[in-house]
Every structure is written in structure tokens, then in C-alpha cells.
């Protein structure tokens, strides 16, 4: 066997944008209509784009490779091709050994079945035999910390418990090649930490790992080498720190500014004291630099930013005018830049930062980026929910009978 565990050779993947015919009722008339007019169905094929272009890499046995890149860079597509869920348009891949992909830790769950039944179901789906699951059952349950609830249907679980059980099963598959995608953005801090420890021990145990994450810290800790994807192309592959540096130096939103508008957003960047960053500890400060450029004469402008969670629930919203700045007026060709300082009192999780530039009185939105970038918040505090109120217990007393005054405080 070669020493290559996993790899891609000139892999291309093409997707079709927009609506395709997904019912016979639409397809048949279109087919017959076009046949009579002597056209093919090609008109439909033009809106295609390459999700991956000419990706080649190799991962040696026992090596951990990280993949980083912004949303839409092709990371998920690459993972799906490696885990054989999708087929590349061109090129092929190399897999030597039993591959297990953690793209979604709870995909195999059925809400009506109990935790125990789901362990067997999910384990089998991930490729374990019944006997194998049986022998690891105690470990799996202990790892999840859900001993009390193992006989409860999982529909009564909280989302955190759900994810914990899912990861516990997945963590015991013992593959030779492991492909991990962002699974660690679930569960409370304590559990995330255990997940990372588990992945570390898997790497130490000689398993080949392909790790896709937005969390640059985890990538640095885990992977010697990292690949940077941008718009489906491999920009760089090499030593992790160098690749992360390159990633941080590229603009946050590479979406080309829309220059047809009277005034447009030229850049939206998030940084910490050290430089561009998208991963923050809860409670820390982030700076958001926003730049706009005018093509025509515009006035009474405000820039607003807002944060929303993954369910698109808006958590926070503000604008330059609401914060006391004067409305902005710009001449053609002029640009304007502002910096928001944010204290990130939000709980751990993934959030989207959105921005727009609007006319204060007309409420007309000239340009917007929804989202402009992701924020990954980590927290060392065991808090749940959307915000972090930085709780502390400052008094904790046991007392007997009577009123509280009788109690000896402290």
C-alpha cells in the first residue's frame, strides 16, 4: 500500500445554478416545446459554475490536513466528494483505508427512537457492525454523559444533548481516515473541549485526519499542513501558520463591489487588536471597519450593521446615525470609512455580521452585504443562550428556619 491515505487528483466539480426541472409537469412541456422549435435544453445549462477547480493534494498516513476558506469557497463540496456523497465532474480521488466522515453528527437520528436505539442506528449508518457497537456501548454512553436519558426518545433532548450523543457515536467509529467538518460548533464549551481532545487523541493514534473548520485556533493546534480554498480554487497549501497568515491577509469579503449603485460598500472587515480575525472569545472587543464609495452625489447616508445567528434571528442592530454621528454626504468618487467598536457579549456560537448603507430619511438601502462575514465566538464560561451576561455566583448560603436575617451570611 502506498503511503498516501487520502487525496485528490485534478478534481473539478460543476454545479448548475438556479431552477432545474424538478417535476415532470415542467419537464415534459419544456422538452416537447423545445423539440418543435428545434432547440436543445442547453439554455438551461448556461448558468453553471465551478464549485471546485483543479484541486490536487495528498495526505500521508497519520497526517492531519486542515482546510480553511470563506463561506462558499468549496470546502463542503470537497468534503462531500471525499466522502463519496458526490461525484466529481472531472478527476478522481484516492482513499486508502476505512473512511469515516463527520459532516453531520446527528443525520442518522430518528426523533421517535430512544437514545439507546439511536446509538445503534447511527452507529450502523456510520459503518460499525452491531457487535462493534455493543462492545463500545458503555464507552459511548459515558462519553456523551447522557446515562440518565438514554431511554428517552431523542425528540425530548435539547439540541446540545442531541449533538453530544451524535458526536459520541461518531467518535467511536475508529476509522483509518477521518473527515471532520465543523462539528465542533455544537454543544457547550465543556463538550467542545472533550471533542477536540478526542480528535487530538485520534490523530495521535495514527489516524489520518482531514479537518475543515472556521476555528483557526483548532486548525493550528491540530494540523501541520493546511490548504486554503478561495472560490473553488486552491490558493495555497503548506505549513499551517503560513497558510493562516495568507488567509487573514486576504479581504474578508471578496465579493466584487457592485459599482452600478450610486454608493456601494467597498469593504467590510472585522479585526481584533492584532489584525483581521473572525474568531473571538466571548466578551472581547472587535472592530468592524467599513468603507463606502460614491459614484454619484449622495447625502444623508448612514451605515448600519447587525448581527444575526444561524437561524437568521437578529441579535443586535445599530447604525452610525443612531450612535450620534452626522449623516454622511459624499461627492462622486469620494469614499468614507468608519470603524465600529463592539463588545461581544454574546454566547458561543457562529454569528453573521451584516452591513448596509442607507438613506436616513427615505430608508432606502443603497447597498448591503447579508452576510458580510462570520463571527465565531468561543466561551470558557458554561452559559447557554444567545447572550453572555458574564454571571458569577457571589453568595451561596445554607440556612435553617426563620427568615433570612437569622442566617449567618458567609
Amino acid at each position: 500500500m502506498s503511503d498516501i491515505a487520502l487525496g485528490m487528483v485534478n478534481v473539478y466539480k460543476k454545479f448548475r445554478k438556479g431552477e432545474t426541472y424538478n417535476s415532470l409537469r415542467d419537464l415534459l412541456p419544456a422538452l416537447t416545446g423545445k423539440m418543435f422549435r428545434g432547440q436543445g435544453l442547453d439554455a438551461n445549462d448556461k448558468r453553471e459554475f465551478w464549485a471546485l477547480q483543479d484541486i490536487s493534494f495528498e495526505v500521508k498516513h497519520g497526517e492531519a490536513l486542515g482546510i480553511i476558506g470563506r463561506n462558499g469557497a468549496g470546502k463542503s463540496t470537497a468534503l462531500k466528494i471525499l466522502s463519496r456523497i458526490m461525484k466529481p465532474t472531472k478527476g478522481h480521488m484516492i482513499v486508502n483505508g476505512r473512511l469515516s466522515a463527520l459532516l453531520e453528527v446527528t443525520a442518522g437520528f430518528h426523533p421517535d427512537l430512544t437514545g439507546m436505539e439511536n446509538i445503534f442506528l447511527h452507529g450502523t449508518i456510520l459503518g460499525m457492525s452491531k457487535r462493534e457497537i455493543q462492545s463500545k456501548l458503555d464507552q459511548i454512553i459515558a462519553f456523551s454523559g447522557l446515562e440518565e436519558f438514554i431511554g428517552t426518545p431523542v425528540k425530548r433532548y435539547s439540541s446540545g444533548m442531541y449533538a453530544r450523543l451524535g458526536f459520541s457515536v461518531a467518535a467511536h467509529v475508529n476509522p483509518e481516515v477521518l473527515v471532520v467538518d465543523e462539528v465542533l460548533s455544537v454543544g457547550d464549551y465543556d463538550f467542545q473541549k472533550r471533542c477536540m481532545e478526542r480528535i487530538h487523541s485520534v490523530v495521535k493514534g495514527g489516524t489520518t485526519v482531514l479537518f475543515v473548520s472556521h476555528n483557526l485556533k483548532s486548525v493550528t493546534e491540530l494540523c501541520q499542513r493546511t490548504m486554503l480554498l478561495e472560490h473553488g480554487k486552491m490558493v495555497m497549501i503548506g505549513e499551517t501558520n503560513a497558510v493562516i497568515q495568507k488567509y487573514l491577509n486576504s479581504p474578508v469579503n471578496v465579493a466584487t463591489p457592485d459599482e452600478s449603485k450610486p454608493v456601494y460598500l467597498t469593504s467590510v472587515r472585522v479585526r481584533d487588536a492584532a489584525g483581521e480575525q473572525n474568531t473571538f472569545e466571548s466578551g472581547r472587543t472587535a472592530w468592524v471597519d467599513i468603507e463606502i464609495t460614491a459614484r454619484k452625489r449622495v447625502e444623508k447616508l448612514a451605515i448600519s450593521i447587525w448581527l444575526r445567528d444561524e437561524a437568521e434571528y437578529e441579535l443586535f442592530d445599530t447604525s452610525t446615525v443612531r450612535l450620534g454621528c452626522d449623516p454622511i454626504a459624499l461627492q462622486p468618487g469620494q469614499s468614507y470609512r468608519c470603524t465600529f467598536e463592539l463588545t461581544l457579549n454574546i454566547a458561543h456560537g457562529k454569528f453573521e455580521l451584516c452591513a448596509d448603507v442607507l438613506h436616513v430619511e427615505l430608508e432606502k438601502i443603497y447597498d448591503q452585504r447579508v452576510p458580510a462575514g462570520n463571527l465565531f465566538i468561543g466561551s470558557s464560561m458554561a452559559v447557554r443562550g444567545a447572550v453572555n451576561c458574564f454571571p458569577r455566583v457571589i453568595e451561596s448560603v445554607v440556612y435553617e428556619g426563620g427568615t433570612q436575617e437569622d442566617a449567618v451570611v458567609r
Partner: protein, 282 residues
Amino acid sequence: MEASARHRQGEGSKGFEKPGPMKQELQELYRYRELLYMIAYRDIKVRYKQSIMGFLWAILMPILIVASGVVVRYAYALVGHAPLKTTDIADVAVKSVPWAFIVSSIRFSLNSLTGNRDLVVKIYFPKEIFPMAAVLACFFDFTVACTALIIFLAVAKIGVSVYLLWVPVLLGTMIMMCLGVGMLASAASLFFRDVKYIVEIFLTFGIFFTPVFYDVRMFGDKGKLLLLNPIAPLLEGLSASVVHHQSPDIQWYLYSLVFSLSVFLSGFVLFKNLEPSFAESI
């Protein structure tokens, strides 16, 4: 650990180049057999958990079909001025229970891919497991209903004969047909959302074109046309071997067998060819 071997086998490094030969695909399916049982087990368990009636669920639909068959047969008897015989009712029962199996297995496998979206999109394994597990789960219901049927046949004093050996052969052919249709239908409904409505219509009205409530013999020579429906020779065969202690019509059975085999094989080949694009089309 069994699943581990699949990548190492020869084509391991080029697993995607072309859909592997059928033998390898069948081997892979065999390696995943535990998953097949597991998914079928899940479907059964969930179905029984959700319904208050529990196991009665499995015999509810057959009982309804048998009851309506008895009504229809009673009407025939009235019109034809002939008494309604026990064998007539046994005939209807023996053909209704398998018919209920065919209908429900096609119905469940039809939605088996679209109903498991997460698994189709996120995890790799041979996806024909879904329609197959749906048929398997329905077969479980069928065996429950068969227990009730056997009790009924015993009470009706139908008796046994050597021709009962035909039953597994006929049922096997029927299952193969259901698997083939199930694979075709599930893949088609993944790509075209209206397929399920079309199939539903066929399942609803199919009973009128299939000798369930009536016998092909009632139509005399024109009965041959009804036997062109590949399910008909199988149902007629069941009624002949179980109720009338006769051998089924071999020629018509072979016709059904050829049909079932070709539906199964073409269903499997088509399914495997379309499988790589499931995740992006669902």
C-alpha cells in the same frame, strides 16, 4: 470493520471513475446488510410507536381490502344467483393480503429517498438500502397479516397440499418486482416531485385492473388480457396453490418471473447510475 475493505479492493484509488461492475455493487450491498436490517427495523419500530393500534396496523389494511372484496363477491353472487362459497372468500383473502403488501411496499419505497434527505446528503452508503428497507419493513407487516390469514384459512378448513411449495416461489417473485419498482420509483421521485402523485393514482386504481376481487376465469377468453398485468399471474397462482390445491399456470408464471427479473435488474442498474447525483438533486 467489514466495510473497511471496500476502498482497498483494486479500484480503491479510483472509486469514482465509472460505476463499478454490478458484482462489486452487490458485494458492497452485502457488506452493508446490517444497515439494511437496521433501517427496516427503524421504519417498523417508528410506525408501531406512532400508531396507537400497534400491531393491528399491519392487518388493518388487509382486513379492509378483504372486507371490501367480500362485499364485491357477495354482489357477484346475488347477480349470478349463485351462493357465496367459503372458497370464494378464501380466494379474496389470499389475493388481498399480498396486494396490500405490494401497494404499501411501493408506497413506502417511493418516499424512502426523499424522506431521508439528511442521510442522502450527508453520509455515504449504498442508497438502494432505502427502498429495499422499505420493502423489507412492509414484508414484516405482511408476515403479521399472514398469521391472521393462516388462522382464517384453518378455520375455513381450506387444508394443505403439496402445491403450497409454490407459495415461497411466488412471493419471492413478487418481492423482486416490488424491489425493482421501489428502486425505480424512489429515484424517479427524487428527481421529479410529481412522480409520487402519478404512482399514487396507479396504486389506487390498480386494484380494478388486477384480479384481487375477481377471478380471471370470470372473463373467459378475455381473461388473458388481464393476465398481461404481471401481478395477475402471481395472485392467481397464489389462489390456485393455496385455495384450490392446483399448480399455477406455469407459462404465465414464467411471464411474471421474466418481468420481475427485468424490472429488478433495470431498476438496480438505473438506480446505481443515478446514485452519484442524488445528493445534489434532492
